[in-house]
């Protein structure tokens, strides 16, 4: 098996830092932090690299370990990573010296992919390993808002990788095309680079598909960018006011009903500008949502077809007077708001549990009576805040009256 047959993203994986493109400052910081281990063990013994796929998180570690001549040990989501296995395998790798005295980089890839059930206790175990480690620990993750990262963030240096610039992607694509002795029009490389939205691995895959599988026709490059797919679908949907055309747009769009519903909810007002149109549009959305609820309750998927009717034809035909215009769609913020709300509530509950314990009432009653009183006192006499916090034994007070304050 030669390297020839490897898929290109693997074949052209950077071996050295010089081959990496983009995120220069971030990678320099990473390099300095790892080099500093040669002198002494730094205060933060772990580093967390956050960024979208294909921007060089894992690749930069691989290249660094090569350049700095360090041993690289990798643990990723394809390994079992529950408490037990981390405390044995990773712990041994992190606390013992290497045979030849070189430093060892411990890479924990995809820590946001720790499974909730199979990898129970994984985060806690990683924290213990970080505390005991004599080697640099590098973690990678895609999703900055993953709840699994909450505690890991606190105990590590966080570096953010940005999507690559199209010019950087172009450069690499050109280099690969040259090494293949292939003549590719700049226009095609530009389109690949642009479609990849800063994901170099995806761009290299597309280049491979094109050079090995034949050139695509104009505009035939498939898109991985889910947001872009949805935005294009929305724009085409609102271009028509014909129900049959609207239905066809949605069925060809490769967008599932849940994301479609969220995106529409966030964006219909951009197209439906009169109150009547807005009312009709939201009525259609509401019917779609209602039908979805009915499906979920009894798993009656036969009704799904109607959901698509309401979300396509229903919404599109609501536009009766406003002319079609090109607009910038915003991503649904609803899931994020739910997440933030939960976190806020979590903090509140913590305080209320304490309050309830001290005052001997139920949590719910405590919220209705005592909390309100304390908030009023603090409003008049903010200096008392310290007294209350120490009384309740909590770190800082989230007593700020979020309702009235804003």
């Amino acid at each position: 098996m030669s390297r020839e047959s490897l898929p290109w993203p693997e074949r052209y994986r950077p071996r050295s830092l010089e081959q990496l493109v983009g995120n220069t400052d971030t990678i320099r910081t990473l390099r300095e932090w790892i080099s500093s281990w040669r002198r002494e063990i730094p205060k933060k013994k772990a580093i967390l690299l956050i960024g979208p796929p294909g921007v060089g998180k894992t690749a930069s570690i691989g290249a660094l370990s090569h350049d700095l001549d360090m041993e690289l040990v990798e643990f990723n989501a394809s390994d079992k990573r529950n408490k037990g296995s981390i405390e044995t395998t990773v712990w041994i790798a992190a606390t013992q010296q290497t045979l030849d005295g070189r430093l060892r980089i411990i890479m924990l890839d995809e820590v946001d992919g720790l499974s909730g059930t199979s990898d129970r206790g994984g985060v806690g175990a990683i924290l213990n390993v970080i505390a005991e480690s004599v080697h640099p620990i590098v973690m990678t993750a895609n999703n900055p808002s993953s709840p699994r990262l909450k505690d890991l963030r606190k105990n590590s240096l966080v570096l953010v990788f940005e999507p690559l610039e199209p010019s950087n992607v172009m450069g690499v694509l050109k280099r690969i095309a040259d090494s293949q002795d292939a003549l590719v029009k700049d226009k095609i490389l530009e389109e690949i680079a642009e479609r990849s939205a800063g994901d170099l691995r995806a761009a290299i895959s597309d280049l491979e598909a094109i050079l090995r599988g034949g050139f695509p026709l104009e505009g035939e490059l498939p898109s991985r960018d889910i947001k872009r797919n949805v935005k294009e679908a929305l724009s085409r949907l609102f271009m028509t006011t014909d129900s049959v055309a609207a239905r066809r747009v949605v069925s060809e769009a490769d967008v599932d009903h849940e994301s479609l519903l969220l995106w529409l909810e966030q964006n219909v007002h951009l197209h439906l500008r009169s109150t009547k149109e807005l009312e009709m549009g939201f009525e259609a959305l509401s019917l779609g949502d209602l039908t979805l609820g009915r499906i979920m309750r009894k798993q009656n998927w036969k009704l799904l077809s109607y959901v698509y009717d309401f979300l396509s034809a229903g919404v599109a035909t609501s536009r009766q007077e406003s002319p079609f215009r090109h607009v910038d769609y915003t991503e649904p913020n609803w899931p994020l708001m739910v997440w933030q709300g939960n976190r806020k509530r979590e903090k509140k509950t913590q305080i209320l549990t304490k309050l309830a314990k001290f005052t001997g009432v139920s949590v719910r009653r405590g919220a209705r009576t005592h909390q309100d009183t304390i908030e009023r006192i603090l409003e008049r006499e903010p200096k008392l805040k310290g007294a209350f916090t120490s009384w309740l034994g909590i770190k800082s007070v989230a007593f700020d009256r979020s309702r009235s304050a804003r």
Partner: protein, 314 residues
């Protein structure tokens, strides 16, 4: 009698036999020629040759060593993280048998893998890229997490055109010695909506009665009504000829045995493609959805359908 399932018997064995999907198949053929296949993601509705394409590609690549170098896993049966960490990893890291350049793992219904399992797949795809290529099949590519999409070349499979389906159906009918008329073909195309698997199954079921395969046989076998009849029922109720509409309804439910749920679905389809003014159409659709929901909740089909027909006369 032949008990083979025609969908299997007539599943194309090589890429060149696949009908429709030319842009995708062309490219797969070139991958085979170059003996280099990237990780792929095939996205498209059911019955559009996704599985067939993977198997045909693997057969073209591997020849005799197909059995030892190809594995298909249906992700909706085993979709947890342990499958990825055990079964998939074990298959992927073994060396290919014979002179095959790599092995191929087809993950059917990959959009049903839990997101944990998809995460576990990420590095496996890269670490064992030398020995194994993964082809993920799914209905919606948006249900596949971005890091996996980033590792795959994406191919979209479209619904098959009527012409493509027609050719294949005629070929099968001829090979099986089945008499299939134009009206019969139209009925199959109407009912299968670009899903080749459904079309072939319907043809086989209809042919098993031993008669000539006509539209009547097909509608009877599938338990659906002739769309012509539905259309005349709807126009009768629209023009306030209630008795006529009800007579057709009774004939369909009692004599032809079409179930109320199937009837509503066919009405739904006719309403969608009807010439009603858009606003009116949405109102009727809303009522149709309501009728289907009520019937599925246990309401009497005849009452709900009659009410629906009455609403259309308003």
């Amino acid at each position: 009698m032949d008990v083979d399932l025609w969908t299997e018997k007539y599943r194309p064995q090589t890429l060149n036999d696949i009908i429709g999907q030319e842009p995708v198949v062309d490219r797969l053929v070139r991958f085979v020629k170059a003996k280099a296949v990237p990780h792929c993601l095939f996205a498209g509705p059911p019955g559009t040759s996704k599985t067939t394409a993977v198997m045909a590609m693997a057969r073209d690549l591997f020849g005799d060593s197909f059995d030892s170098n190809f594995m298909e896993l249906n992700a909706s049966d085993e979709r947890g993280i342990d499958v990825v960490r055990n079964q998939i990893k074990n298959f992927a890291r073994a060396m290919p048998a014979g002179d095959a350049p790599f092995r191929i793992l087809a993950l059917d219904e990959a959009d049903h893998l839990t997101s944990d399992a998809q995460h576990a797949l990420r590095r496996t795809m890269e670490s064992y890229a030398a020995s194994c290529r993964m082809i993920l099949l799914c209905n919606y590519s948006s249900r596949i997490i971005p890091p996996i999409q980033s590792r795959c070349v994406i191919f979209k499979f479209a619904r098959l055109s009527d012409e493509a389906m027609l050719g294949r159906l005629k070929y099968i009918a001829k090979a099986e010695g089945v008499q299939l008329g134009t009206k019969g073909i139209d009925a199959i195309l109407y009912l299968s909506k670009g899903d080749m698997r459904a079309a072939i199954n319907l043809l086989q079921a209809s042919a098993s009665t031993g008669e000539k395969v006509t539209d009547d046989v097909i509608y009877a076998i599938s338990g659906r009504a002739d769309p012509e009849r539905i259309r005349s029922m709807l126009s009768a109720s629209r023009e306030k000829r209630y008795h006529e509409a009800l007579d057709i309804l009774k004939d369909l439910t009692y004599h032809q045995g079409v179930s109320p749920v199937d009837l509503v679905q066919q009405i739904h389809r006719e309403v969608l493609s009807s010439e009603l003014p858009e606003q009116r159409k949405m109102n009727v659709l809303e009522r149709t959805a309501e009728a289907e929901f009520r019937i599925s909740e246990g309401a009497d089909g005849e009452i709900q359908l009659t009410a629906l027909l009455a609403f259309m006369g308003l």
